[in-house]
Subunit: 632 residues, 2 copies
């Protein structure tokens, strides 16, 4: 029986024949899912079975097909409980996204697209998940991008019930309501069982009351009834609120001995049990033998190719020049460049929208001017950084330039895992960290972000730019906005000098150190604004100064040159164990570059609270002390 | 007028005289706070003024005094909105914890204890905060420790209203209700203004409904009335639920032009405005001049000395030996040792309680045996990792051994900032990361924790142990439980060999590499269980093998020895850019140790999904490939 075409709800209600076809399909999909986990000897069958009708219905009604799933103006589907991958893949195979035999054979097999938790390489998967709590934020990000692009689509987010306790979900709920994202539809697989037992034994959580308290329309639905799911999904969003469907389900539904048993949350059944369940579902258990046989040869299907979103269509305008001593703070130069580019492109036909996220810090992170120029593309999200980190990620793969400006400790320390998942998902969002290093002096040690290099160095994709002065900040901002990939820019709070080397016709080039001074007695490699301190030290010690603004892409030509010219000091307003100096030294060792004596200067304990100058002095990062390092 | 003694609520209600004394004190405290921020030219007066009666009352009624504040069996006070430090310090000076003139002069001055956000060095401050959302979790951790120690005390948590949107608060609320922490009392400074404007414009949040939905007793109180605050605090917890006081207040209350103005959330007034406000509060503005004068000389008061909690009083029993091939997984060895030590000490007179936290993963992280032995000290907290990371931190400074076992990506990636704040606070908690590295193969790239060394290397205090085999795991577990400080242990999932080098009389020594094999053609330094792979490679290449289990404390003697003996390969199931190899190479460069050619092997891209062996092979981490590295 062929599956009916249900995209965008062509029917008032499902017909009997349609329900019958869907049920037949769900029955087969359960066999698919169970065969996957049994052949792979690992996986999560319980939730795959309980969510099956939800998966089948959502992928049926969504404007998301094998043909349009890699484009942008369409519906999005986020499955937050990514461990139910077997169920998701099974439903996708029913709807023609992927091949059933291939996924049954190569689920969780090295080299296949079918990872243990869902990933974007599989067509129909819009976001790689499994770290619970992030899915609704992912959906909100997609919905915001749809709105910015003028596309009236829907975003479906499927979740488990156990993960409803994650705080980030509440943050996403509030943003969805504030932004009026009525096209955002959440579905909760409410089976009351989680990995280690019954939900109410593990951590009680008043699911319905919490969604309602945050302003959502909460509707209870039989999560195994296609009729009920179809009707509820069709009606979603018609009350002027985002809607959540509380789908009452049974863990392991139609899975024989697995039904209602927590143990099968994360474990395949034994082979005899497998046989019984599959027979109960009306299929020949030989399907497993076939899958096991096929698994002996390597997977042929690698999934679709996922890359960063393409370069946006925007104009980046003409850089501003800043001249003189203490002329501007880097955060200010960023804010001005952002507003300038924003204005140039705002609501212009054919341009990629630029969306800026804020967490109650616009006056400090300097996004106020952008808000004024581009009010509809400025998203005030309150003190909810986890939510924003994820939203910023998904928005960026849905047709907008997505930028979040935030204090360093909140934009990376607090949300490291969200930014890691943005990296894995090749999101291409832009994060601007302000108030980094000891330059947020008075706020004290809990607010000094001294680890942004070290944190992003753990990822494989993030680029990081730490500008030296306002001129370079301006140019790097414009470069960042039009460049694909996840890019972080880290800027300080204090007013600093505008350097002529980065003004006028200077163009920012990622990975290139800029030699600011040539001296006789050695070299300083200085990160970002500390190059300005290094220049003063260099006057005393008569050494060269290389200004580094891309600590994760060390300029090895510059280092080789310096290595021949005497001792080297690295200088950074960052943890000295994990920053620019550490990256350079590691790369030199790998390349077999013999380094002279190297002294690494930076933050070697938690900072004091005082003016930036005071705090740096306490840390030994004054021109005098830096110059002294060459005497040793 | 002397302040009344109010500890533990000696009065039915406050008398008129008592209220009058408190009001007089609050008036003076406002002058104190305003003088602080004006002398420091930075700080947050608005919230300091709106929370003033809350601070004064809580520090009045709490069983927390200058005399007992560094002990453990007492009440605890957590101020989550740590940016209101000026108000907190002012109240503490009224209650005799600190000297008024000193704090007015040296607030946010380098070298003083009075950081911009509150820190534990100031007597009366139980937790350094300011990163919003963590305070209630901190309080829950203290309350759990009190309970484990049989102390029927109270924990007061003060919060702002803007930060109510942080998801972690909801997690803490649920834990408090599930654990029946009726001694936990929350107070919200509900002034409806936050940094960049009105609360309802920034992010609406139905505060009362959310606390009630999570099962708290929510009581509205006039936050500027001592009478109302005293009565409400006294009644808290008497309905069998934790209680939150929704304290209606006015931002900048009694601060003249600052009243109700968002701009003064984070900015001191100009000097004329200062004068007017202070005169309005009945004091001579000359107090500012005096403070400014005193500020010219360095601060004399450094605060109390804060260190890690002392070594617990526990017995650690006799280590278990594991012999043979694939005899045990390290997580299993950890679980057995933990349960053994738990049983030895459970409810024994005079012993320090051992409390274990779980986030719905006991069957995977192997804390089930401990739960069986020590049911009352096992805290099931559901999928709420941010909350648990903070609770585990505060519990550890309140008289218990506090241990949290968790999957790597959730125990450190997801909660990096909470663990960073545990470090800043010198918490001394123990985190056991299971399923680290590619050893969680099938779960795929979102679940492979390949950055735990790199993340903890950003902190200054965390120790990290990555055991080589089940024998070392057992011994390191017992060592960890009795050793002061924040300690992380990272273990894999697969069964591995028990090595004789770590059995019998072997004692774990932090920072010492163990030479497992001597060869002719060079050396492998291998992290944790990869030493077992290295041994196979070493047979092929005839090289030495050093097993490293403390990547953050490189054994430089071993490295010097190896440096003389030929090429070096570093091997780790970790991001190759930020792991053990990077730490060793940096330290060698600093010490001027000339290294031979070094090849760093490890994880250099996100992993595949498959068996651990498959995934390691795809990453090039097989004995053959490792041996080949010596040919180059």
């Amino acid at each position: 029986m062929a599956l009916p075409k249900l995209h965008n709800f062509p029917e008032e209600h499902l017909t009997k024949e349609q329900v019958s076809a869907l049920e037949d399909s769900a029955r087969r999909a359960r066999v698919t899912a169970l065969t996957m986990v049994t052949a792979a000897k690992s996986g999560h069958p319980g939730g795959a079975f309980s969510s099956m009708e939800m998966f089948m219905t959502v992928y049926g009604v969504a404007d998301l097909t094998p043909e349009n799933c890699s484009g942008i103006n369409r519906d999005y589907v986020v499955v937050s409980h990514g461990h139910t991958s077997a169920g998701v893949y099974a439903a996708l195979s029913e709807w023609g996204f992927i091949d059933r035999d291939e996924v049954m054979a190569h689920f969780r097999n090295c080299g296949s697209a079918f990872q243990g938790h869902i990933e974007r390489e599989v067509p129909g998967i819009d976001w790689g998940t499994g770290n619970l709590g992030q899915g609704l934020s992912a959906g909100a990000g997609f919905a915001i991008a749809q709105r910015a692009n003028g596309h009236k689509g829907r975003v479906y987010v499927l979740m488990g019930d156990g993960g409803q306790t994650k705080g980030q979900i509440a943050e996403a709920r509030r943003t969805a309501v504030k932004e009026g994202l009525t096209g955002l539809v959440a579905l909760i697989d409410w089976n009351d069982i989680q990995l280690s037992g019954k939900r109410l034994d593990i951590m009680p959580c008043n699911i319905k009351a919490l969604w309602e308290a945050d302003g959502w329309e909460a509707v209870e639905v039989d999560g195994h009834s296609f009729t009920a799911l179809y009707d509820a999904l069709k009606a979603a969003g018609t009350h002027g609120k985002p809607t959540v469907l509380l789908c009452k389900t049974i863990m392991g539904k139609n899975g024989g001995i697995m039904e209602g048993v927590a143990d099968y949350h994360g474990k395949p059944p034994a082979v005899e049990a497998y046989n019984d369940i599959v027979k109960g579902l009306g299929e020949d258990p030989a399907v497993l033998t076939k899958a096991q046989e096929r698994r002996k040869t390597p997977p042929t299907y690698k999934g679709r190719k996922i890359g960063y979103p393409p370069a946006p269509v925007i104009e980046t305008g003409t850089p501003f020049d800043y001249e003189g001593a203490k002329v501007m703070d880097n955060r200010g130069a960023f804010g001005k460049a952002l507003a300038d580019v924003g204005k140039l492109n705002y609501k212009k036909e054919g341009r990629t929208p630029i969306v800026v996220f804020d967490c109650d810090l616009a006056p400090s992170v300097m996004t106020g001017a952008f808000r004024k120029e581009c009010p509809d593309n400025y998203i005030q999200s309150g003190i909810q950084e986890h939510n924003v980190a994820t939203m910023s990620g998904t928005a960026s793969i849905a047709g907008v330039v997505s930028l979040w400006a935030e204090f360093g400790v909140f934009g990376i320390d607090e949300v490291y895992n969200q930014q890691r998942l943005n990296d894995i998902n090749l999101a291409g969002n832009k994060t601007v960290l302000t108030h980094v290093g000891l330059d947020v002096g008075e706020d004290g040690k809990t607010h000094q972000c001294i680890d942004y290099v070290g944190l992003l160095n753990n990822t494989f994709g993030w680029k990081l730019v730490v500008p030296v002065d306002p001129n370079q900040t301006d140019r790097a901002t414009r470069w960042m906005l039009k460049t694909p990939g996840d890019i972080c820019m880290a800027v300080g709070r204090s007013k600093i000098d505008g350097l002529k080397e980065f003004a006028g016709s200077y163009e920012f080039e990622y990975g290139k150190a800029v030699k600011l001074r040539t001296g006789k007695n050695g070299s300083i490699f200085a990160l970002g604004y500390t190059a300005q301190i290094a220049l003063k030290a260099a006057e005393i010690a008569d050494v060269s100064v290389y200004a580094v603004s891309c600590p994760l892409a060390p300029d090895m030509d510059a280092l080789k040159e310096a290595a021949k010219a005497g001792p080297i000091v690295t200088l950074e307003d960052h943890n000295v164990n994990t920053g620019m100096g550490a990256v350079m030294i590691l790369e030199a060792a790998r390349q077999g570059i013999a380094l002279p004596k190297v002294k690494t200067l930076g933050v070697n304990h938690y900072g004091a609270s005082g003016t930036s100058d005071q705090v740096r002095a306490e840390m030994g990062l004054t021109p005098d002390k830096i110059a002294e390092a060459f005497k040793e």
